[in-house]
């Protein structure tokens, strides 16, 4: 199915439960290479949530996946509009109350949309980007490490990996081959989900996905900042970093369990 946002037809897939439902969820994907890696997990999550009786709309933002446009032609404002458009679409198609589930930057954008649309039924945040500057640093570091490994596998010296990875046009940064223009980078740098503290009053899940069973401090802080927030730690591999089949079952189960309790 397609729906319109900002004059662009966005590609979406609606997962409909076998029984009529009064609940729906919009899935907000991560971006750049992380979207590619997490695709299978997002599809598996959509199917599992639909099986649990909740309709799910997953979609591609402008410039991403099967939606038209080039990644570097858009920004976070446009992508937040896309989420609003997806919420409208899901409400139209299902006549249900609609919540948001997002992963990484998708989770952050979902949280920001929920600040402006208090009617969002619930908010599930998988490893949200809480600190935008840290997110950019991590992406740049990944590029440096990849360049180092590529040179190593090619039998070259690795000392120039940083220089090789960091040669984008002035003002832009490169996220593993995705050009992030200056305006988008500045918007990312300004991300801080803890300040000001969130005002969304609906149920909010902050899912911390890592090798540890303990919840990382910023994730706990974010959950605590929500009026009805809860933090849950899930021990699983970073599904947004690995291409291939990864066991996302612990992530999906924890989410479905939480959704069932709402």
């Amino acid at each position: 199915m397609n729906f319109e946002s900002g004059g662009e037809p966005l590609h979406g897939v609606l997962h409909v439960p076998s029984e009529p439902t009064s609940r729906a969820l919009v899935l907000c994907h991560p971006f750049a290479e992380e979207k590619k890696c997490a695709h299978r997990t997002m599809v598996e999550a959509a199917r599992a949530i639909a099986e649990a009786g909740i309709a799910v709309l997953r979609f591609d933002h402008r410039g991403c996946g099967d939606s038209p446009g080039s990644f570097d032609a858009y920004d976070l404002c446009g992508w937040r509009e896309d989420i609003s458009g997806a919420l409208d679409c899901a409400a139209r198609e299902t006549t249900a109350e609609v919540g948001l589930l997002g992963l990484r930057l998708g989770a952050t954008l979902a949280a920001q949309v929920a600040e402006e649309l208090p009617d969002v039924a619930c908010l599930a945040l998988w490893e949200p980007i809480i600190d935008g500057e840290r997110y950019i640093k991590q992406n740049l570091r990944r590029s440096v490490i990849k360049a180092m490994m590529t040179r190593h596998e090619g039998g070259e010296e690795s000392e120039d990996a940083a220089a090789e990875a960091g040669a984008p046009a002035e003002g832009t940064v490169d996220f593993d081959g995705y050009s992030v223009p200056e305006a988008m980078r500045e918007q990312m740098e300004q991300i801080n989900l803890l300040a000001p503290p969130p005002s969304y009053a609906g149920p909010a899940l902050v899912l911390n996905i890592s090798a540890k069973d303990a919840i990382a401090e910023p994730m706990q802080q974010l959950a605590d900042a929500y009026e009805r927030g809860v933090a849950v730690a899930v021990r699983a591999e970073p599904v947004w970093q690995r291409i291939g089949v990864i066991d996302a079952e612990p992530i999906i189960s924890a989410t479905v369990d939480w959704l069932r309790r709402q």
Binding site: I145, M148, S158, A162, E237
Partner: protein, 84 residues
């Protein structure tokens, strides 16, 4: 913290963060991590984040070289240098 304690903590961190099916005590200080544990760029990123978080150090871009990540010995030496 002694040199051996540092190395043990690094081994445990690597096994945990990379979901390795390995006993940290069985990792030799001088064995080649990249070859023996199929360390790829994603794993290296996890190791970097793990070292930064656990030992409160910060990698600079110019620090990155394959030799640094070759063994537990080289990682421990780097951590000690950054902390000194």
């Amino acid at each position: 913290m002694s040199d051996q304690q540092l190395k043990q903590q690094i081994k445990e961190m690597i096994v945990e963060r990379l979901f390795l099916d390995a006993d940290p005590n069985a990792i030799a200080d001088d064995e080649n991590l990249m070859e023996n544990y199929e360390i790829d760029s994603v794993n290296l990123f996890e190791i970097v984040v793990g070292l930064e978080e656990q030992f409160e150090i910060s990698f600079e871009d110019e620090d990155f070289s394959v030799d640094l990540f070759a063994t537990i010995d080289s990682l421990a030496e780097y951590v000690e240098r950054k902390r000194s």
